[in-house]
């Protein structure tokens, strides 16, 4: 039983690690800010999953409630950031017609040199 729990923890922990990689890929590969935001959330949940899995590592003591509480806090914080970013992206699109940063648009000005 305890071995099973440890296997499960390792499995989901690895899944979390892979999600972090997938998320970073999405973050780097896209210029569209909404896509980057989705990728950011994938990285975040990967880290949370990893955290939750490590909470099971000390199997003799059961699931550790502290990581769970911290993850809930983290989820809410990540949502706040996401909501603010979504509002900024839509506003930027309204003002400039683009959902990308100026330097990442084809022919756009490089950052900070304006």
């Amino acid at each position: 039983m305890i071995e099973l729990l440890a296997t499960r923890a390792a499995l989901f922990g690895l899944c979390g690690a892979a999600l972090i990689g997938i998320g970073i890929y999405g973050f780097v590969a896209h210029a569209h800010l909404l896509r980057r935001l989705v990728a950011f959330n994938v990285i975040g949940s990967g880290i949370f999953l990893l955290f939750g899995a490590t909470g099971l590592r000390r199997v003799a003591f059961g699931a550790d409630p502290v990581p769970q509480a911290l993850i809930i806090t983290g989820i809410v914080v990540a949502f706040s950031a996401t909501a603010l970013a979504v509002a900024m992206i839509t506003r930027l699109a309204m003002l400039s017609g683009e959902a990308r940063l100026p330097e990442e648009r084809p022919g756009g000005a490089p950052g900070g040199e304006r």
């Binding site: 970073i24 706040s80 990442e104």
Partner: protein
């Protein structure tokens, strides 16, 4: 044995969906995949014996974030914002290899990690009796690490002020979003009438049950916020003006009461200290107020910046 098969399948599915969400060419399918992703991650939390987190993920990840992103996608499409990507496939492959290596390093680090000590599970169990609640996760959130939770409720408010400040000057203080409407006797309006009573009950139940079993102010508050948004989308009530005095008081009520209780503790010698005899009641007070503020803040975060003054259709 079947449990292992299930877990492996679940992890594989999560990874495939995450890949689909970040790597596809178009925005809308990516968003749909991301909503599905939230749902699958909620199931993963159940498998990690973290039902409290599963509730939060289901309500926020599969619920509110879905509404938020889908709405934003549709708005961007309406504005005909270009979506074409520029990167070359060689660059993408290189990025992919780099990310895979990074993920592998994290995974190896995790496997090679030798956990020292007992973790905090036994310490939490030991102190649970004086915490005022029976659910250990709620005990951590509202007592042992209440300070984190206080700051977290503030983070929500900061985000809301940030969102509001993106309004146009002339719309300041007005209603967020467009004036929602639906056919009065239509399916949407009917859905918006049938669901809220049930949703209200479920949300309140989840806030209330948090002291004993998985649940709590954040999870329940998120559910209630989503229900509120549904009623707004069904055109049954208007999203409130952002300069309403009552609304503003509701927004700060939770953090303010939390802060007041914490400071009263400081006067007694312990910042955010909850005397064991009253901890249960104080937590109930804080959770109720927090839930109210969370409902309002989350709902308005999704609704977006003020976009029109009373009654006008003046939008984008």
């Amino acid at each position: 044995m079947m449990a292992v098969v299930f877990d492996v399948l679940l992890c594989a599915l999560i990874l495939v969906v995450a890949l689909a969400a970040v790597s596809g060419r178009a925005l809308f399918p990516a968003v749909v995949f991301f909503i599905v992703y939230g749902l699958l991650v909620a199931i993963a939390w159940v498998r990690l014996d973290a039902v409290d987190v599963a509730l939060a993920e289901a309500a926020i990840g599969a619920g509110l974030t879905g509404i938020l992103l889908v709405g934003a996608t549709a708005r961007l499409r309406r504005m005909e914002v270009p979506e074409a990507e520029t990167g070359t496939s060689a660059a993408r492959i290189a990025t992919g290899i780099g990310c895979a290596m990074f993920a592998a390093m994290i995974g190896l680090g995790l496997l090679s990690l030798e956990p020292r000590g007992t973790g905090l599970a036994p310490v939490v169990a030991e102190n649970l009796a004086g915490a005022g609640v029976a659910n250990p996760v709620t005990a951590v959130l509202l007592n042992f690490r209440a300070y984190d939770t206080l700051l977290e409720s503030i983070v929500l408010l900061v985000a809301l002020v940030g969102v509001w400040s993106l309004a146009e000057d002339r719309h300041w203080g007005g209603h967020p979003g467009l004036r929602q409407h639906a056919r009065t006797d239509g399916v949407l309006a009917a859905f918006g009438r049938i669901l809220p009573p049930v949703g209200l009950m479920i949300g309140v139940y989840i806030v209330w049950t948090g002291s004993k079993q998985p649940g709590g102010a954040f999870q329940g508050g998120t559910v209630l916020a989503a229900v509120w948004l549904l009623v707004v989308m069904a055109g049954l009530v208007e999203a409130p003006r952002s300069d309403g005095r009552l609304l503003r008081i509701g927004l700060v009520a939770g953090p303010a009461i939390f802060l007041a209780v914490g400071f009263a503790g400081a006067l007694g010698g312990t910042f955010l200290g909850l005397p064991a005899a009253h901890a249960g009641n104080l937590i109930l007070l804080i959770e109720t107020a927090l839930a109210l503020s969370i409902v309002l803040t989350l709902g308005l975060l999704v609704a977006g910046p003020p976009q029109r003054k009373a009654g006008t259709e003046d939008g984008a």
